[in-house]
C-alpha cells in the first residue's frame, strides 16, 4: 500500500521537519519512505511544503500526487493544495488560521496554533502537535515510531516539549474519533 501525505504551511513553521519525522517514523515501522520538499527562496514567510510517501514497495516518483492526506497550517497553503487532495482524502487544517469551504471528503479543523499558544505558550510546537494528530487520525505510522523519530531528530532540549505536544495531538485525535467526525466537520 502507498500512502501520500502533504504537510504545508509557511517557511519557519517546521513543515519540513514534520515531513522528516513522518518519513523517519515510516522507516522505523519497517516501510519504505520518501520525503521531498518544495519551498520558496525566502527562509521565513514564503510557502513551504513537505511531501511524504510511505509504501511497502520501492518509491520512484518523489512527489506526492493524489494526496491521501493533506495537512495545512496556513490559508495560502490550503488554497494552493486543496485540489491535490484525492476524492475521499483526509483534509486536516489549522482552524485558527484557515476558513475553508466544504470539500468532498473528510475535513477536520482543529485550532492547532491557538492550542499551542494556550498550552505551551509558543507556536513552535504547532507542527508536531498537528503531525501527531494527523498520524493518529490517519493511522499512517505508529505512535511508537513517531516518538522514536522525534527523539532521534530533535535537539535534546526540545524533546520534552515536543513529546508533550505529541501527547496533546494524540488526545485531540482520540477525542475527535470517539465523538464522531460529524461534530467538528465544517
Amino acid at each position: 500500500m502507498k500512502t501520500q501525505i502533504r504537510i504545508s504551511g509557511s517557511g519557519g513553521q517546521g513543515i519540513i521537519l514534520a515531513g522528516i519525522l513522518l518519513a523517519e517514523a515510516g522507516i522505523i515501522d519497517g516501510k519504505k519512505a520518501l520525503q521531498s520538499q518544495s519551498y520558496g527562496p525566502e527562509s521565513r514567510g514564503g510557502s513551504s511544503r513537505a511531501d511524504v510517501i510511505i509504501s511497502d514497495e520501492i518509491i520512484y516518483f518523489p512527489r506526492a500526487v493524489k494526496l491521501d492526506t493533506l495537512l495545512c497550517l496556513t490559508q495560502e497553503a490550503a488554497d494552493k493544495f486543496i485540489d491535490a487532495l484525492k476524492s475521499a482524502g483526509t483534509f486536516i487544517y489549522d482552524s485558527s488560521q484557515i476558513s475553508i469551504n466544504p470539500i468532498d471528503g473528510e475535513a477536520i479543523g482543529i485550532p492547532f496554533s491557538e492550542l499551542a499558544i494556550k498550552k505551551f505558550k509558543t507556536t513552535m510546537v504547532t507542527n508536531i502537535l498537528s503531525l501527531a494528530f494527523t498520524c493518529r487520525i490517519t493511522n499512517t505510522v505508529s505512535l511508537y515510531a513517531l516518538r522514536k523519530a522525534l527523539r532521534k531528530r530533535i535537539k535534546p532540549k526540545y524533546v520534552d516539549i515536543n513529546l508533550k505536544a505529541v501527547r496533546l495531538g494524540v488526545r485531540l485525535a482520540e477525542e475527535y474519533l470517539s465523538e464522531g467526525s460529524l461534530l467538528t466537520r465544517e
Binding site: 522528516i20 518519513a23 523517519e24 512527489r63
Partner: protein, 385 residues
C-alpha cells in the same frame, strides 16, 4: 527459525546531499573548499562538521573561483579534494576546472543543478547544466560527469567519482538534481570495508628521475605529492613531459592526445548505463537523474496497460554512452527524450542514432521549475502513432 545473527544494516532516512558528503568521506576525501549555495549547502554544512573530526580540512572561500583553485592545490599536495556548488558557482568554477584538466589534477566537483540562467530559481530543479558540464570550460577537453538518481546512488557515485578522478588524473563532475539533493529516502549504505577505493599512482623512481607528465602507453603517469622532494612544474600552458611550457607542435599534440586518450581508451571502465525493461520495448524513454525516476514509474504503469515501454538511463552522462545508447535504442519505434531543460540530451540522442536508425523522437521538455511527472511521460505515448 535459524539463529543467524548477521550484522545487517538498518535502513536510514537520508538526504541526497548528505549521502554525497558521506560518500566523499568514505572515499577518503579530506579536503573541502567551497562557498555555500542553495541547493548544495547541506554538503558544505555536514563536511564542516565532520572533516575536522577525522583530521580533514574544511575551508569556506570567498567565492567559487578560489574554491576550485583551493582544491586543486590541496590535491596536488596529496589530498583527495572536493567542492560542491550550484549553477552560478559552477560558472565561476569553469576557468580553474580547465586548469585542473590540462594540469591533470584529480578532484571532484559536485554541481547541484537549479533553475537558470544566472540566479534563476534557487530552490527549484532543472537539468540545464548538462551541456555546461561538457563544454563549460574552453578548449578541447574530455569530461567525466556522473548523474545519480537515488540517495544510494548519490553515495555510490560519489565514491566512484573519487575512484575515477584518482585513476585517470582528471577532474570528475557529479551532476545532481535539486529534488534529489534535498529529498530524503530510506537507504541502506554498503558496509565500509566492502568498498573499493582507488588511490592515485605514486612515482616509484627517485625524485631526480621523476617526470610529472612522463609518456606512458596508458596515458596516465604517476603523480607525486608537492613538498615531498619531487620537484615539478605545473602550468595551464601547453606543456612537455616535465611540465614546462612548450609550443613544439608534436609535444602539444602529444599532450592533447593524452588528455583525450586516457578517457576514450577506457570507456568500458568509465561508462555506466542502466536499461530498464528494454528487452522487448517498442517505445523507449531516455532520461537522466530524477526524471528517470518519473520515467520508471511511467514504465511500470504502462506495462500494466500492455504498452511495451522501457527506459534507458545513463549513470555516466559524459563521456556520452554513444554505442550503448545506439544499441539499446536500435529496435524501438519511438524514443521519448524527457529532460528538465529546453533540449540538451535530445541532440546527443539524435547524434548517436543517426546511422540507419528510424526511431521517432518525441521531446518532453520542462523548464518551469517543476519536475516531470509520470503522467506527462505517459501522455507522450499518444504521440507515437
Amino acid at each position: 527459525m535459524s539463529k543467524s545473527k548477521k550484522p545487517k544494516g538498518k535502513p536510514v532516512l537520508m538526504q541526497g546531499n548528505i549521502a554525497v558528503a558521506l560518500g566523499a568521506l568514505d572515499a577518503g576525501m579530506r579536503f573541502y573548499a567551497g562557498y555555500p549555495i542553495t541547493p548544495s549547502t547541506e554538503i558544505a554544512e555536514i563536511l564542516s562538521e565532520e572533516l575536522p573530526k577525522c583530521g580533514g580540512k574544511f575551508i569556506q572561500m570567498e567565492d567559487e573561483i578560489s574554491s576550485m583553485a583551493c582544491i586543486l592545490g590541496a590535491s596536488i599536495a596529496g589530498m583527495k579534494a572536493m567542492t560542491a556548488t550550484s549553477g552560478p558557482g559552477f560558472s565561476l568554477i569553469q576557468e580553474n576546472l580547465g586548469y585542473g584538466m590540462i594540469a591533470e589534477i584529480p578532484c571532484v566537483i559536485v554541481d547541484v543543478q537549479r533553475g537558470g540562467p544566472s540566479t534563476g530559481l534557487p530552490t527549484r530543479p532543472a537539468q540545464g547544466d548538462i551541456m555546461q558540464a561538457r563544454w563549460g570550460t574552453h578548449g578541447d577537453h574530455p569530461v567525466i560527469a556522473l548523474y545519480p538518481n537515488s540517495v544510494l546512488e548519490c553515495y555510490e557515485l560519489t565514491i566512484r567519482a573519487f575512484n575515477l578522478t584518482e585513476k585517470y588524473r582528471t577532474p570528475v563532475i557529479i551532476l545532481l538534481d535539486e529534488v534529489l539533493a534535498h529529498m530524503r529516502e530510506s537507504v541502506m549504505l554498503p558496509q565500509k570495508d566492502k568498498l573499493k577505493i582507488i588511490r592515485r599512482i605514486k612515482p616509484n623512481v627517485p625524485p631526480e628521475w621523476y617526470k610529472h607528465y612522463k609518456y606512458n602507453p596508458k596515458y596516465i603517469s604517476p603523480l607525486a605529492n608537492f613538498g615531498e622532494g619531487y620537484r615539478f612544474h605545473i602550468t595551464g600552458l601547453a606543456h612537455d613531459e616535465n611540465g614546462f611550457p612548450t609550443q613544439v607542435p608534436w609535444e602539444v599534440e602529444a599532450m592533447m592526445n593524452r588528455l583525450l586518450k586516457k578517457i576514450t581508451d577506457n570507456l568500458d571502465d568509465i561508462i555506466q548505463i542502466e536499461p530498464f525493461k528494454m528487452e522487448d520495448a517498442e517505445i523507449a524513454i531516455f532520461a537522466a537523474g530524477v526524471v528517470a525516476r518519473s520515467a520508471k514509474e511511467a514504465v511500470i504503469i504502462a506495462r500494466k496497460q500492455g504498452i511495451k515501454l522501457g527506459l534507458v538511463r545513463p549513470l555516466t552522462i559524459w563521456p556520452f554512452p554513444d554505442v550503448d545508447v545506439e544499441m539499446m535504442l536500435q529496435n524501438t519505434k519511438a524514443v521519448i527524450i524527457a529532460e528538465m531543460n529546453q533540449g540538451q540530451l535530445i541532440n546527443e540522442i539524435k547524434r548517436v542514432t543517426k546511422y540507419g536508425h528510424h526511431s521517432k523522437f518525441i521531446k518532453l521538455q520542462k523548464f518551469n521549475g517543476l519536475i516531470i511527472t509520470p503522467d506527462e511521460i505517459l501522455a507522450k505515448i499518444a504521440e507515437v502513432k
